[in-house]
């Protein structure tokens, strides 16, 4: 991948450059975060002309490596004010990889009020006025159909939905998947950044692109085989996720007393059977029709954790029906009907809002009296108002922190203004440390781990006790940043976390593609360096350790059934990033 494309929406000029030397070895999150730290003014307004939006595939995207089709998007977040990397599946990343595009950047903003479609193909980049029919409330599903008809059935598409046009802090960037459904770079409001630059869509057509060059094809094939086996032999990636999706966690977290419910006032519900992964599986199987228990969100996905959830007549309601969405609406907001939750999920996808942020905001709005507890139909109608940007729609689409302020609440589950997802930090303290200190605001995906660190940090963890939690959170965040930078699907972690051979095979594939000689230590160091870059940006944007804290109510409201509070001190929390200071002292 040797092309680095800059698209200036102020002048409508496009520059196709060679990849700057310093970015040559970077992909995914490592590239987006380094770029944002290098070029985005940390104190800029996220929706102003000085923010820049970068799209980058992973190091292995476009090759035949399994599960290498994630696309990373980076910018300063309008939700958190921090640096942000959000990633998604779909076919976009692989097309960029095949076309040799290391990244493209959208910068500036037009003086006029028109929306544009950026088209990237082997001949270059064009900027067209967006068709009127995809603007002003047109849903993402319909917009994908219209754009696919205009530009070709097989093109990749990234969209700012109606929420992005309204520049709401919960707006996501929606990506077309191989069947024309939607995958989302969900968190942090990057759809609002895209909308602020008046870019309605980016269309990518890889027709005529050659295969990705591999420096050592034989070594690549051998490593790819080992990597595939590591994924398919693991009970999580090879069996659990494919059958039950990520919603397998509903029953597990509920049993552990860590399933936040009724706006984080308890950690266990009684209606878990209604919304569990096991019920999801049984319902899809029983209804048949369009329903698919297992489905891959991009070509080359071998874990297939996604699914198509059908209605009672067998017609698909939504795809990619994830644990965090089901948790947020089903437990935190108390909606007991999985079908209604599915319709709300579809509406959120169609509008282009982050389904985690919106679900947490809905539960907070219920506590604030804006919506009745557990009323799915009322929530569906309220979420529809985001599309038309009514005052209620704008409040919900602005995220949990805004809803909390509008309603005058103290129980507002956010860190750095990003809604806390589906794992209560009081009975699962290690995850609480990650929420508190993540460079992205409260983020459950910041804490995955790679082989070698697990037994060292995880052997003696008691979820209710402090011991070992700092080391756990630190190792998890470094590991996540490292593997995010390869651009692999998050869930390959399950296969490589318990299998050192799987992790080495991932590194061997990168080495074989680029003809380099990375070691596991190099990749770990890459993870540390990404976190340091992200912390540096946040610090320059005005964030301090005082922002690395959970909301105060966790300190004095015990969470049933274990009835524990959050008791990590500020000094203990700050230990997670002690490695920054250690290196500074040694340098």
């Amino acid at each position: 991948m040797n092309k680095f494309i800059r698209i200036d929406m102020t002048t409508k000029k496009v520059a196709v450059e060679n990849v700057p030397e310093k970015y040559a070895g970077l992909g995914g999150r490592a590239l987006t975060s380094n770029f944002v730290n290098d070029e985005v003014k940390p104190t800029c307004h996220a929706l102003g002309k000085n923010n820049k939006l970068i799209f980058a595939p992973g190091l292995l995207s476009g090759t035949t490596a399994p599960n290498s089709g994630r696309i990373s998007v980076g910018a300063k977040s309008p939700l958190t004010g921090t640096i942000k990397e959000s990633n998604a599946g779909g076919s976009f990343s692989q097309k960029m990889g095949k076309m040799g595009i290391k990244a493209f950047v959208i910068e500036g903003m037009p003086a006029d009020d028109k929306y544009y479609v950026i088209k990237i193909d082997v001949n270059g980049v064009t900027i067209d006025e967006a068709p009127a029919e995809i603007l002003g409330g047109c849903g993402n599903y319909e917009a994908i159909e219209i754009l696919s008809e205009k530009y070709g059935a097989k093109v990749g598409i990234a969209l700012a939905g109606p929420a992005g046009e309204h520049r709401l802090p919960s707006a996501n960037i929606s990506f077309k998947d191989p069947e024309g459904n939607i995958r989302s770079a969900g968190r942090g409001g990057l759809g609002a950044v895209m909308g602020s630059k008046k870019v309605k869509a980016v269309v990518i057509d890889d027709t005529g692109a050659a295969a990705v060059p591999i420096a050592d094809p034989e070594k690549f094939r051998a490593a790819s085989k080992v990597f595939s086996k590591a994924l398919l032999d693991h009970p999580v990636s090879g069996q659990g996720l494919a059958a039950y999706g990520t919603a397998v966690l509903v029953n597990i977290l509920n049993e552990a007393g860590g399933l936040p419910a009724n706006n984080f006032t308890t950690g266990r519900i009684d209606h878990n059977d209604n919304i569990s992964g096991e019920t999801l599986n049984a319902t899809i199987t029983e209804r048949g029709g369009d329903g698919k228990v297992s489905h891959g969100c991009h070509a080359g996905c071998i874990m297939r954790c996604s699914q198509w959830y059908p209605d009672k007549q067998g017609k698909m309601i939504t795809s990619g029906f994830e644990y965090e969405t089901i948790w947020g609406l089903g437990a935190d907001a108390g909606i007991e009907d999985l079908d209604v939750i599915a319709y709300i999920d579809r509406e959120m996808d169609d509008i282009g809002v982050d389904s985690i942020e919106t679900a947490v905001a809905v539960a907070t709005a219920m506590e604030g009296g804006l919506l009745p507890w557990g009323d799915g139909e009322a929530v569906l109608e309220a979420v529809k108002e985001i599309r038309t940007a009514t005052p209620l729609g704008r409040i919900l689409g602005s995220g949990t922190a805004v809803v909390g302020k509008v309603c005058g609440l103290f129980r507002v589950p956010v860190v750095k203004d990003q809604g806390i997802p589906a794992y209560d930090p009081r009975p699962i303290k290690g995850i609480g440390l990650t929420y508190a200190t993540s460079t992205m605001g409260a983020d459950h995906t910041a804490g995955y781990c790679i082989s070698g660190n697990i037994l060292k940090v995880g052997g003696d963890i008691d979820p209710l006790k402090k011991d070992g939690q700092i080391e756990y959170s630190r190792a998890m965040q470094i590991g996540t940043a490292a593997v995010d930078s390869t651009g692999m699907c998050l869930f390959v972690y399950f296969g490589i976390a318990d299998n050192p051979g799987g992790y080495q095979a991932l590194i061997d594939m990168i080495n074989a593609q680029y003809g380099i000689d990375l070691t596991a230590t190099d990749v770990d160091k890459l993870g540390e360096s990404v976190l340091k870059v992200e912390r540096a940006f946040n610090k320059a944007a005005g964030f301090t350790n005082a922002h690395d804290r959970l909301p105060e109510f966790f300190e004095y409201e015990p969470c049933p059934p274990h009835n524990v509070v959050w008791d990590l001190t500020p000094e203990e929390i700050d230990e997670v990033y002690a490695f920054e200071n250690e290196e500074a002292l040694n340098s």
Partner: protein, 110 residues
């Protein structure tokens, strides 16, 4: 132990054990009579659950090893291999599952 005077336990199964328990017992949770404490292994045998289908058990909301002693009044759940990685660590599986040969294996592939 949740309640001293109870002579029953509540049992759940997750992943494929959810459907298996429902098929066998009609609904979940299974309410079982229990006079004396029993290990997770012995309870699994009573319920005809093969040990290679269990990574850990939950007892009263805490992750425990298979040899943990279950008392009347307890709430128990059997968890097959398949819980995603970071949560296995955060919930404490790694201190409880290291002696368990069923860890990290797909039964059908063994």
């Amino acid at each position: 132990m949740e309640e001293e005077n109870k002579k029953t336990i509540e049992v759940r199964g997750f992943l494929h054990l959810d459907a298996a328990f429902r098929k066998k017992n009609g609904s979940i949770p299974i309410i079982m009579e229990l006079e004396e404490p029993i290990t997770g292994v012995a309870l699994a045998e009573k319920l005809e659950v093969s040990l290679d289908e269990i990574e850990v058990i939950f007892v009263n909301g805490f992750v425990e090893a298979l040899d943990y002693l279950i008392h009347p009044g307890d709430r128990v759940a059997f968890l097959p291999p398949g819980c995603p990685g970071p949560y296995r660590i955060a919930l404490g599986f790694y201190g409880k599952n290291q002696g368990n040969e069923a860890n990290f294996k797909i039964k059908k592939k063994e």
